[in-house]
Amino acid sequence: MLTAILVLAGIGLVLGAVLGWAADYYKVEEDPVVEKIDAILPQTQCGQCGYPGCRPYAEAIAKGEADINRCPPGGEDGIQRLAELLGVEAKPLGEGLEPKLKSVAVIDESTCIGCTLCIQACPVDAIVGASKQLHTIVADQCTGCELCLAPCPVDCIAMEVIPARLDNWKWRYPVIRLKQAA
């Protein structure tokens, strides 16, 4: 009887020590879920979710503070993938948020006064220019976040929807006829 208790207590102690050591030795510095969520988010850094960038939003989702349907640029596909990752039900895009076509910002160069306000607003440094010099947007790096629109004092920035081109064209979802047409 006593032996059994001692043996079991011994095993418990040894395993406990191993677990304690492992918890310390294999400690994960950062919350891996945040990384995974951040990898799904589109990195537009637009703040439409109400957080100052994609990573803060990812952190908020990981903490359970934010819903998964607050990201319009991620779209339905993004919500679907977040739902799969977190094991929750996918839901439609949150209230007050609307999905938009992918666009890039374009500066009307005849109106630009070179105030640099948009440069300061751009979250990905996709605008080049200097004080009292014409600004321009590097279209390849523009995420279409629209953060440069509001600060412009002369309203010379407009969003242009990216048109279908040979290099970004996609096959459509097949529409199949289920009934013989009359």
Partner: protein, 554 residues
């Protein structure tokens, strides 16, 4: 004789080869205008190197290769460039692409291109020449041949396979080419063999082309190196690169690897002929053989200059017969509907089929999948098409990838055998392009993330630097004093400054600030009395009580 192997599934659709394979390859009269697309090959489009108004000669480079996977584009005839603009292309999207429009001057004057000593020159020079002669795979995928001919780190690729199967119904351009230009094909194979360092050269031709087999066998006898001409059983898609490889060698290309990884490179017979013409005859790729068949007056094969409007090709075949209902570019199983008849013939266009409802009846209504498994039996890539269909339909793209969607060669066997008439391949194409777009988006997101993080870091650094600067400015005096210690001139100045400051401090001490000017003598006396009292209390030890409460001071 080499033992042939088999691949899974396959289908036997009606061949429809006899319509167009009887007449020899004809040529088209010179047209007044050619519209040459700059994106005729897989990879990066060529960059236009001519401007409107430039005079060009036949075979002159009008588009330079850009990037690793790219190839040059040449003028099909001599004339004046009238525009470099967007024109509708023969592409499933029907979208426009950048084209060079050439108004021909009727002279058809050639740009002299010297033949290349491919045997003597270093490998890299020959590959660069192939790249600048515009050679791309003419079987349909139009992959730049210079990239495929680079044996790279492997050192050598032991097996070269020439694909003359031409398994898709209606198409006969390779059949005619092999019958009429077998020597050119074999000469091209010699160049390929040399560049790849191949020991074995195999040519696979479906046994429904006995004339082509005979012509190629005859040409192979005089090749000067061993070439095996092999008749493969007529079974679609024996002309798929992976299927032909499996038929001839029994080897399968593993998922995610290239055929070169198992020591095999596959080229179309037309590509071999065009390589010979380019390197030995000095003729860049400006034309190709195209089959025009279906509901036209005189179906046949034509040597068509690239940039010829498809409309002109149909007219050369006697025009579409009444009742025609559109055109297919490519074959009936893998091709696509042409949106605009004015679209030009490009390197990828091997066949134009003019449709008629009797030849191509509209697809019957689609029924739900009954899980019969016919598609899996027919699939030459040994996939599970019905599973792929469900997942693609549900947009579960991760699942489709897990079921090896990217091994699908889009041959259309599954759709052909499906008793429910489900356009299965359309779903796979949709899923593939969605996955590619998603990968592209996630790459862009990765760049955006890095740029955003760097910006955060930069702002943080700027803030810190500003704060440091301010702190340094605030601590500026002691800092400059320490620096002056070892400079005698500065030390002297500092001493003077110090002395002046001390003098000023002494003078300040001496003067008691009194905001009491022009006072009445009585008030002045009172002040003096108070001052005297204050001096007195300062001098003597203050009484303990008085220190605490000034009120008690007498």
């Amino acid at each position: 004789m080499r033992k042939l192997h088999t691949f899974n599934g396959g289908i036997h659709p009606p061949e429809h080869k006899a319509e167009s394979n009887a007449a020899p390859i004809a040529s088209l009269p010179l047209l007044p205008r050619y519209v040459v697309p700059l994106s005729q090959h897989m990879g990066h489009p060529a960059a236009a190197c001519v401007q409107p108004g430039d005079r060009v000669l036949r075979g002159q480079v009008i588009g330079l290769p850009e990037g690793r996977i790219s190839t040059a584009v040449h003028a099909p005839t001599s004339g004046i460039v009238s525009a470099v603009e967007m024109r509708t292309l023969a592409h499933p999207s029907g979208l426009p692409g950048l084209c060079v429009v050439i108004e021909s001057d009727g002279d058809d004057q050639a740009c002299p291109t010297p033949p290349l000593d491919w045997h003597g020159l270093p490998q890299a020079d020959v590959l660069e020449a192939v790249r600048h002669l515009g050679i791309a795979g003419l079987g349909g995928a139009v992959f730049p041949s210079a990239v495929k001919l680079d044996k790279g780190k492997a050192g050598h690729i032991p097996t070269l396979i020439l694909n003359g199967s031409e398994c898709e119904p209606w198409i006969t351009c390779d059949d005619r080419l092999m019958r009429e230009r077998a020597d050119e094909v074999i000469q091209g194979a010699a160049i390929m063999r040399h560049l790849l360092g191949a020991e074995t050269v195999l040519v696979g031709i479906e046994d429904n082309k006995p004339e082509a087999l005979a012509a190629m066998t005859a040409a192979a006898r005089g090749a000067g190196f061993p070439v095996e001409i092999l008749a493969v059983p007529t079974l679609y898609p024996s002309g798929g690169a992976k299927q032909l490889t499996q038929l001839l060698t029994g080897l399968q290309t593993p998922t995610g690897l290239l055929s070169t990884d198992i020591g095999i490179q596959v080229f179309n017979v037309g590509t071999a002929a065009s390589l010979y013409r380019a390197l030995v005859l000095g003729q860049p790729l400006i034309s190709r053989v195209v089959t025009i068949t279906g509901h036209v007056a005189r179906p046949g094969n034509f040597e068509v200059r690239l940039g010829t409007p498809i409309q002109a090709l149909i007219e050369a075949a006697g025009g579409a017969l009444p009742g025609a209902s559109g055109q297919i570019v490519g074959g009936p199983l893998m091709g696509f509907e042409l949106e605009d008849e004015q679209s030009p013939v490009a390197k990828s266009v091997n066949c134009i089929i003019v449709k008629h409802p009797a030849l191509f009846p509209p697809a019957p209504p689609t029924l739900p999948c009954i899980r019969c498994g016919q598609c899996a039996l027919a699939c030459p890539a040994e996939l599970q098409p019905f599973e792929l269909y469900w997942y693609a339909k549900a947009k579960a793209f991760d699942k489709t990838e897990r079921y090896n969607l990217f091994d699908c060669i889009e041959c259309g066997c599954c759709s052909y055998v499906c008793p429910s008439h489900i356009p299965l391949v359309d779903f796979y194409r949709f899923a593939k392009s969605e996955i590619r777009a998603r990968d592209k988006d996630s790459q862009a997101a990765q760049i955006a993330r890095e740029r955003h993080e760097f910006r955060q870091f930069r702002l943080e650094r700027e803030k810190r630097e500003k704060a440091e600067k301010l702190a340094q400015k605030a601590a500026g005096k002691p800092a400059s004093g320490a620096a002056a210690a070892d400079d005698p001139e500065a030390a002297r100045k500092k001493a003077i400054l110090q002395a002046a400051m001390e003098r000023a401090a002494k003078a300040k001490e001496g003067v008691q600030p009194q905001n009491t000017d022009n006072l009445a003598p009585a008030v002045e006396q009172e002040i003096q009395a108070i001052e005297a009292r204050r001096q007195g209390t300062d001098a003597s030890t203050p009484p303990p009580e008085g220190d605490k409460s000034p009120v008690s001071t007498p």
